[in-house]
């Protein structure tokens, strides 16, 4: 079981990872998933899933298939399939996605556009000042 769990969390060669205390700037393109725990500034394009980890500080425009924001993002984000902003997530920028899930406690400041009219934030943020607009 542990072995199965460990394999599931290991990295594919196509994945891109930026560890804690590592800073990256420029234009980053990935054919796989991207996991950021450090700092990143610039532009990011990924064919897979983008995770902005709890310790991450990202100032970038992002285009990807889907994303999970646990840390901080300043910039516009287009996630083709879905976006999750967890309770610790902080986003300042415009969002464009099919499906948006904002957990209570998250902060989202910016415009939200969804291609699917039925796709609306499933849960509204509870912190003061966090008012996503669609």
């Amino acid at each position: 079981m542990l072995d199965k769990l460990r394999r599931a969390t290991e990295a594919d060669p196509r994945d891109t990872m930026i560890a804690h205390r590592v800073s990256v700037s420029g234009e980053l393109t990935s054919e796989g998933n991207v996991w950021i725990d450090g700092t990143f500034s610039g532009r990011l394009r990924a064919k897979g899933h983008v995770t902005i980890g709890a310790s991450a500080l990202v100032e970038a425009d992002i285009t990807c298939d889907s994303a999970t924001i646990v840390g901080q993002l300043q910039g516009n984000l287009r996630a083709e399939a879905a976006l999750v902003i967890t309770a610790t997530g902080r986003v300042r920028g415009d969002i464009n996605t099919q499906q948006l899930d904002v957990e209570p406690g998250a902060i989202l400041v910016g415009q939200v556009a969804t291609d699917d009219p039925e796709a609306r934030p499933k849960r509204q943020p509870t912190e003061a000042g966090s008012e996503p607009t669609t």
Partner: protein
């Protein structure tokens, strides 16, 4: 017909115990051929050159890292005109492992299946690397600061205790030839439980990894580079994919987790 270059000294002479079994199995699998033995350092390269002169299309290295390295270098020098297979019987069998081959029986089946993959080597400070470059911070294992830049304008800064560069296509033949650079911030360790725990569960992956065609790494103090023909100490490394591929027989179909 395959051309088998055997290092009788590899793996403390382990070939002597399995030579008959090996020849029997390759005959059963329909991949028998000419067997030749090396008699010292540099001999595997000479024999590989001879095999290419004799128009062999497949050369099999029966040995460990040194035998494989000599043969791969020789085939590369001749324009990569033959496919290379490996029967790993050495003490260290790094490339065989990366190609998904773990023992001589499996290697024979892999050779019979003849699944080919073209791998582009890469150069680092003028030295050619066919599968992996390892960079290790010396001086008491304390991490060394680094700045990594690419021609595409990417800039990465941090500290590392070690780093590896490989071609991601070795790990998965479906992926294109690109350099996979992995940077470890701290020495491996963390006690007996560390290897059982999912790294992401503790603090993300713990390492950095990305793909590129080239990179220049500047270090705040010299580090040791291994994986090529000669180890070197340097504080600046420039790595770049080479244009000429070498063809390997691989057991990988969809790749493995790295």
């Amino acid at each position: 017909m395959y051309y088998y270059i055997v290092n009788p000294a590899a793996g403390a002479g382990s070939i002597n115990n399995l030579q008959d079994k090996l020849k029997k199995l390759v005959t059963e699998l329909g991949i028998d051929g000419e067997f030749v033995k090396t008699i010292g350092a540099g001999d595997a390269a000479k024999l590989a050159h001879q095999a290419l002169e004799d128009k062999f299309k497949t050369i099999i290295a029966v040995g460990g890292n040194e035998t494989v390295d000599e043969i791969v270098q020789a085939v590369y020098e001749r324009g990569g005109r033959a496919a290379i297979g490996i029967i790993p019987i050495g003490k260290h069998n790094t490339l065989a492992g990366q190609l998904g081959v773990s023992d001589w029986r499996q290697a024979c089946r892999t050779l019979a299946a003849r699944r080919l993959v073209k791998i582009r080597p890469f150069s680092a400070n003028g030295q050619l690397f066919f599968y992996r470059l390892s960079l290790t911070a010396t001086a008491g294992q304390t991490p060394v600061g680094f700045t990594l830049t690419t021609k595409q304008g990417l800039k990465i800064k941090g500290s590392l205790s070690s780093a590896t560069v490989t071609n991601q296509r070795i790990l998965n033949p479906r992926y294109p030839n690109r350099l996979l650079i992995r940077i470890e911030p701290e020495p491996s360790g963390g006690g007996a439980w560390a290897r059982w725990l999912p790294r992401r569960a503790v603090s993300g992956h713990g390492f950095s990894q990305f793909q590129t065609d080239d990179a220049t790494i500047n270090l705040t103090r010299p580090a040791e580079i291994t994986g090529g023909l000669e180890p070197m100490q340097t504080d600046e490394i420039t790595v770049q994919l080479d244009d000429q591929p070498v063809t390997f027989i691989t057991d990988r179909q969809r790749g493995r987790q790295s």
